[in-house]
């Protein structure tokens, strides 16, 4: 196990997720086994409703799992209290979503520094780090703008900066280019790949877009709550 923990950033075995809604039980995940190595970029693909986002939520601790086990960076997500899991997310994880999920009342720089403040960084230090992150995504001149004053691509870049600012061990991205045109998508993926290569951070991407998936080291395909294929993309390894 110790050996595995060193090798794998994420290790999931027999993961099941059952939703109960209005007397109806929906088995969203039906026993998923998965391992993601440190510094690896993995893409999860599949048709709508196959359980991609549910898997991402369960792996990241945003959602409880009904059965099975998930280890992230060697720690069991299942056994953590809500408080511990929240802190774990704040310290080790970054998130990117399709609809950016920036806080609309905060400026770009304030959005980026928010995870640092949550993690307990001093405001001054947090601002310095956030400044570096916004420069890294090439939007230093937009720092004081609010999300509503920026384009979709710019907002997603800010989201990327926010997800990376506290140097997380792992970044979860749910359809990071889903709301963007192909050119902007390419720009965002270039950015993510660069971060992955330079910072050696682990990336798990959920996507519909084969072009996005092709940029990852590995593509996992799902259907009906199960992994149907897990193939290397011929890069990285």
């Amino acid at each position: 196990m110790e050996e595995t923990a060193k090798e794998f950033m994420i290790e999931a075995t027999g993961v099941q997720k059952v939703y109960a809604a209005g007397g109806l039980r929906v088995r969203a995940l039906r026993g998923v086994d998965l391992g993601v190595r440190r510094g690896e970029m993995v893409a999860i693909m599949g048709p709508s409703g196959c359980g991609k986002t549910t898997l991402l939520n369960v792996l990241s601790g945003l959602d409880d799992l009904s059965d099975g086990e998930v280890y992230v960076d060697g720690e069991s997500i299942k056994g953590m209290s809500d408080r511990r899991r929240t802190r774990f997310r704040a310290e080790r994880m970054g998130f990117i979503f399709q609809s950016y999920n920036l806080i609309p009342v905060l400026s770009a720089i304030e959005n980026i520094e928010l995870p640092l403040l949550v993690a307990g960084k001093k405001p001054k230090k947090a601002r310095e780090w956030a400044q570096d992150a916004i420069e890294m995504v090439g939007l230093a001149d937009q720092a004081r703008k609010r999300p509503s004053e920026m384009s979709g691509g710019q907002q997603q870049r800010i989201t990327v900066a926010r997800s990376l600012v506290n140097n997380p061990a792992i970044v979860w991205a749910d359809e990071p280019t889903g709301a963007l045109d192909s050119e902007t998508s390419k720009g965002i993926m270039d950015l993510l790949v660069r971060m992955n290569e330079t910072q050696q951070q682990t990336f798990v991407l959920v996507t519909h877009d084969p072009a996005v998936a092709a940029r990852a080291h590995r593509t996992i395909r799902m259907r009906d709550g199960r992994i149907t294929s897990d193939e290397a993309n011929g890069k990285g390894e």
Binding site: L62, D63, N101, V105, L117, G120, S148
Partner: protein, 1019 residues
């Protein structure tokens, strides 16, 4: 309540019902023609129950305030009526000699001191004959009423002012019977020669019961052969005629009710026995009663009086419609209370309207997506507007119905507090409410709410379909839409018009409102001209604050100010404060983060908590305005109350330097109080350093040279002992006198001069709020000006003697001259008008330092019990008055504080809505590492921030405006000081903040329970 702001309530109810009916009819017809829209609107209520409850609760507040005001008025009207009718019973009309007061005596201080004149007993028979064919008249009875001092034999207890009702046993049909506590009827015909029935109240005061003996001192007409046991030592009263006749009486029974129209401290004996004791074979009143219950019986009073008119004129008598007058007076009292509550509740109602608007704006925001789709699938704007209006009307209907009923409950609570204010005064609160007033409150609430609903519906119908469906915020056109430009142009124009009108009418309120609108308009124009909003609205806000708060007058001198100024100032100052805060919010955010950012875990929480309200200017501005408006009013009121309370700290200023007041009974007057003090057992004359004697006369008075109708006025006459020692000052005097002392000397030495209380003089600041107007109001000068014209005369005529005099007004007393009401002249002048010396009616005593005024008052009452002297310690009287006034003021502030519910409800509504709106963002914050507690804390801080900002703004603005208000009062009323009511401020801030926190705790907890994965899933 019969009238509201001068409009008969019945009429008002029908007008409002007609407006409501017309609106309901139009809506109903529209619903029939657009059944689908109506069904879509109506189904929202049961389907969104929690929201329906929240909306209805928010909307009902304004209606509740109306209803509570009306219920308070109704209850007070009813209580006053009950009290009046308790004394009057079945008596509708009292026939009396001309010159007697309404109840047969002239009221003077706490006792009744002037005796009603007697007239021929045959008149009663003639009255009966004249009314014999009037079916509504149930009975006519001759009677005599005297007021005498009574002492209990063998004890020191006395009742200085006890009414004695002499009734003719054979004529009492139709009137109430004397009823004992057991329910047994007491018959006057059963009484023995020296026996009486005593009221339970009098028995309690004297501590006597059935079979005990008491002594009553009657004023017996001199040279009357019929008088039994005339005492050899009975003192002759100069010019007054009667002598004192102590009479030993046995209490044959105690009654609870039925001795009408005597007061509750009374006794009853057969008419003939009373006549013997006062040396009369005549009567001094004829009582007339109508059929039917008490209030309804008063109807037809005019017809009865008209029928008696020839007889009355023939015998120089008058018929007083005592019951109808009492009912009218009670109604007027109730209306005054209602008016005061409605007037001071205006800010709360204004806040309530803002809340209604906010609720519908938020409702529209929530439905935006749904309505956008409805438009996309073919619904026209008209459909949308109707649909929203239907839903709003249903909410309004529910809210107004609930609000009008809830207001009755709030009113009930308020009258309980008022009851405490009057505790001990004998005035009992009897709860009442009338269907008319509930209907009026309902209709007012409904019409108000529906008007806001219509405006909101119109706004909703203008939505952009694409933006609505995609939930894209509306672009800010910076006021450069057609509507915005028109508003920017119309506002300063309206302002200029009001300035002109204010100058023409010499009304400060209009003038200042005009100036304010010019500033507001300038800001709107600047925005259209692309001046940054922050600059234009901050500058406008600062200018408005300067205009209203700086201690300079921006208008020409000599303009009049009304209560409207307070309301205009409130709205403008709050608007200015909200602008300055909202447009400089980043500075506030920086300050808050700098102040609390060092606390562990706080920087991200603070940032999230404070950024939302500061970014959402409309909602925050509205909520701030709601809180600030109400807090501002209460704070200003509490400052004014505190300033006025400071008057009570200086009792000398109020009492004129006297310590004890005593009212004399007429049955056994004390001819010379100074002499009496020397010789009376139990009195140390050295304790009394000055004695002022006061007398009075009921006269017909009007200002000379005016065509006003003469009014009955009580003219007070004071002797040298009073004028040499009184310490009252003057706010205005004729040019030849420089000091108060010179005025008092002139009053003593120059006959036909007078001084008046300040309420008789016109004032430049007309802040009267519905309280009793003085009998006569003079004109041609202002009491505020230090110099009084030297040609102001009051023409007085004594209806008894027929003498007429012109009294020259030489001074207007300060407002704090509490115990010198109306018109005061010299005793010699009063005697001259009456044609003979008028006996002393009251005395004022100054005590040696160190003598307790309460003890001195007791000693005086005890020593002069047989004279019916009633003494009170002035300091105690002032303290009691101050306490009652304080309680009433607190109640008024409490009522105004109901408006805080509006602000608190707004915070609750916003917090609940925010949780729904920000669900996804909350999920994101949780994903980023916000703990549940941090999410909850962020919501609580957000609400606290708005609440504290609103409360703080209200307190700061109220305190700032109070400086000017208190200063202007202090210029007119000496003794007023700017005092910070720390305790009241603490209660206002504490209560409103805690309530606001409690309201937002539930939504905040819900926010903390948002599950991140679920929240993020629904994008």
């Amino acid at each position: 309540m019969e009238e509201l702001f001068g409009v008969p309530t019945q009429q008002l109810m029908w007008v409002l019902l007609a407006v409501f009916g017309a609106a309901a009819l139009i809506l109903g017809l529209s619903a029939l023609r657009n059944r689908v829209s109506f069904r879509m609107a109506a189904r929202n209520l049961p389907r969104r129950r929690a929201q329906t409850i929240l909306v209805v609760l928010g909307l009902m507040l304004a209606t509740m305030l109306f209803s509570a005001s009306f219920t308070t008025g109704d209850t007070l009207t009813n209580s006053l009526r009950v009290q009046a009718l308790e004394n009057l019973g079945q008596v509708d009309i009292q026939v009396q000699a001309e010159g007697s007061g309404a109840s047969g005596q002239q009221q003077f201080g706490p006792t009744s001191s002037e005796r009603a004149s007697y007239f021929d007993a045959e008149v009663a028979g003639e009255v009966r004959d004249r009314l014999s064919d009037e079916s509504r008249v149930a009975g006519v009875a001759p009677a005599a009423i005297e007021t005498v001092p009574v002492t209990a034999k063998g004890s020191d207890l006395s009742e200085p002012s006890t009414d004695v009702l002499g009734v003719s046993e054979s004529s009492m049909e139709g009137f109430d019977s004397l009823t004992a506590a057991s329910g047994k009827t007491l018959e006057p015909s059963d009484l023995g020669k020296d026996e009486i029935y005593l009221s339970a109240d009098a028995a309690k005061g004297l501590d006597v019961g059935k079979g005990d003996e008491i002594q009553a001192t009657f004023a017996q007409k001199v040279n009357t052969a019929a008088a039994p046991n005339a005492p050899p030592d009975a003192a002759a009263v100069p010019g007054a005629g009667p002598v004192s006749l102590p009479s030993e009486l046995r209490v044959a029974g105690l009654y609870e009710s039925g001795a009408n129209p005597a007061s509750s401290t009374s006794m009853v004996m057969p008419l003939q026995r009373l006549q013997e004791r006062v040396g009369e074979d005549r009567i001094n009143t004829v009582l007339v009663t109508h059929k039917g219950p008490a209030v309804e019986g008063a109807a037809g009073t005019d017809t009865t009086i008209d029928k008696l008119e020839p007889l009355l004129q023939e015998n120089d008598l008058k018929a007083e419609p005592v019951k109808r007058d009492a009912i009218d007076q009670a109604d007027e009292g109730g209306e005054t209370f209602t008016s005061i509550f409605l007037l001071f509740g205006q800010f709360s109602v204004a806040s309530g309207v803002l809340l209604i608007f906010l609720i519908f704006v938020m409702l529209a925001a929530e439905r935006k997506h749904e309505l956008g789709i409805a438009r996309a699938v073919g619904m026209r704007r008209g459909h949308l507007m109707r649909m929203f209006a239907f839903e709003g009307a249903l909410y309004a209907l529910l809210a107004s119905a609930l609000g009008s009923v809830a207001g009755v409950g709030v009113g009930w609570l308020m009258v309980r507090v008022i009851g405490k204010a009057f505790a001990g005064s004998g005035f009992e609160i009897s709860f009442a409410t009338s269907p008319e007033n509930i209907v009026i409150a309902f209709c007012l609430g409904m019409v108000l709410t529906f008007a806001v609903v219509l405006i909101s519906s119109w706004r909703v119908s203008r939505l952009n379909v694409v933006r609505a469906i995609r939930d894209i915020p509306e672009p800010d056109n910076k006021g450069r839409s057609v509507k915005g430009v028109l508003l920017a142009l119309a506002t300063p124009l309206a302002g200029a018009g009001l300035v002109w009108q204010g100058l023409q009418a010499e009304q400060t309120g209009l003038y200042m409102l005009g100036l304010s609108l010019l500033i507001v308009g300038a800001a709107l124009v600047a925005r259209v001209l692309r001046v940054p909003e922050r600059i234009s609205f901050t500058v406008a806000g600062m200018l408005l604050l300067g205009l209203w708060l700086l201690p300079y007058s921006f208008g020409p001198s000599g303009m009049t100010e009304g209560i409207d100024l307070f309301f205009i100032s409130g709205v403008m100052i709050v608007l200015a404060g909200v602008w300055v805060i909202i447009y400089n919010s980043d500075l506030l955010l920086g300050t808050v983060v700098a102040l609390f950012g060092w606390l562990r875990g706080m920087p991200p929480v603070l940032r999230a908590a404070v950024s939302y309200p500061l970014q959402n200017r409309f909602r925050t501005g509205m909520t701030l305005a709601m809180f600030s408006l109400v807090v501002f009013t209460i704070v200003t009121m509490s400052f004014i109350n505190a300033a006025f309370s400071s008057i009570f700290d200086d009792t000398d200023r109020l009492s004129g330097g006297f310590d004890v007041r005593a009212d004399a009974g007429y049955a056994a007057p004390i001819p010379d109080m100074n002499e009496a003090l020397k010789d009376t057992k139990g009195i140390d004359e050295n304790d009394y350093t000055a004695v002022g004697t006061l007398t009075g006369l009921s006269v017909d008075a009007k200002q000379k040279g005016t065509d006003s109708k003469p009014e009955t006025l009580f003219l007070q006459g004071v002797d040298g002992g009073y004028t040499k020692n009184v310490g009252y000052g003057f706010k205005s005097t004729v040019p030849e006198y420089d000091t108060a002392n010179e005025v008092w000397t002139a009053l003593r030495t120059e006959e036909n001069t007078a001084v008046i209380s300040s309420d008789l003089a016109p004032s430049r600041s007309d802040f009267e709020v519905g309280d009793g107007a003085p009998t006569i109001k003079l004109s041609g000068f202002y009491g505020d000006d230090p110099t009084l014209p030297d040609d102001i005369y009051i023409q007085v005529e004594d209806p008894q003697s027929g003498q007429t005099r012109n009294l020259r007004v030489i001074g207007v007393l300060e407002d704090t001259a509490f115990f010198a009401p109306g018109v005061t002249t010299s005793r010699a002048t009063v005697d001259g008008i009456a044609g003979s010396p008028v006996p002393a009616q009251s005395y004022e005593f100054r005590l040696r330092d160190g003598v307790d005024s309460g003890e001195a008052a007791k000693d005086l009452e005890k020593a002069f019990a047989k004279n019916g002297l009633q003494a009170v310690a002035i300091e105690q009287e002032i303290e009691d008055g101050s306490a009652s006034q304080g309680l009433f003021n607190n109640l008024l502030m409490g009522f105004m504080g109901l408006g805080l519910l509006v602000g608190i409800a707004a915070l609750g509504v916003i917090a609940a809505r925010s949780v729904v709106e920000r669900r996804q963002q909350i999920g994101m914050l949780r994903a980023l590492g916000f703990q549940r507690g941090q999410v909850r804390l962020a919501f609580l801080i957000e609400s606290s921030f708005v609440a504290l900002l609103g409360i703080g703004l209200g307190v700061a603005l109220g305190a700032a405006l109070s400086v000017g208000i208190v200063d202007s009062f202090a210029e007119q009323i000496s003794g007023i000081r700017y005092t910070v009511p720390w305790g009241t401020l603490g209660v206002i801030v504490g209560l409103s903040y805690v309530a606001a926190l409690l309201t937002t705790f539930l939504p905040a907890s819900q926010a903390s329970k948002v599950y991140p994965a679920e929240a993020l899933r629904y994008e």
